[in-house]
Symmetry: C2
Subunit: 126 residues, 2 copies
Amino acid sequence: MNTEARIRIRVQLGDLPLFGPGKAALLTAIDEVGSIAGAARALGMSYRRAWLLVDSMNQNFTGPLVAASPGGRGVGGSRVTDLGRRVLAAYHAVEVDAARAAGKPLADLQTMVAAEPGPSVAGEPE
Amino acid sequence: MNTEARIRIRVQLGDLPLFGPGKAALLTAIDEVGSIAGAARALGMSYRRAWLLVDSMNQNFTGPLVAASPGGRGVGGSRVTDLGRRVLAAYHAVEVDAARAAGKPLADLQTMVAAEPGPSVAGEPE
């Protein structure tokens, strides 16, 4: 298995999960595929869950991150808005800057990892 | 509500969740309370879940992070080992260094947050 330590970052507002790897992947997939349903399929996520995540993103920012496509691409098409792109870019910048800065303590942590790490705890949120 | 954006960091080995805020809180509570059961109660976590998380930590590093207390404090006492303290310190250093470095893009992201962010999606992992 791949045993290189890396970090995953979630941005919170108090206790509210604002944005993280899952929403970033969903936005990216919507941008590539052109619909929420297609993006959900590509990520192995239920349509309902994808829709709820999009709805949450659209409520938590100053405007929608995902909007209906302008006509011509069939029913149900969606696109990532300019604001959605800016949110995604800011999140990726958080990831890159954080990973770069945390390189040394992360390497320290890595030296303490077992040669053959065991399985994780089911549903583990850490 | 508190709407200041902050980051939460999980350290992964490939897809394996190695260490994050939940395990850090559990180790800290065990150190304060002196037992896994007491720490679980203090965190509102089931004993079984706390035990599984401790078992996972003890398997994933080069030695146990939590061990039985030396006698005298009653049945079931546990303590955080020196290795456990070093893991916790390295993780906190990752958190501090990452948060400091990501300040600017996080502030950018904050400017795009709605004045009254909505509720999150149940069980949302991002």
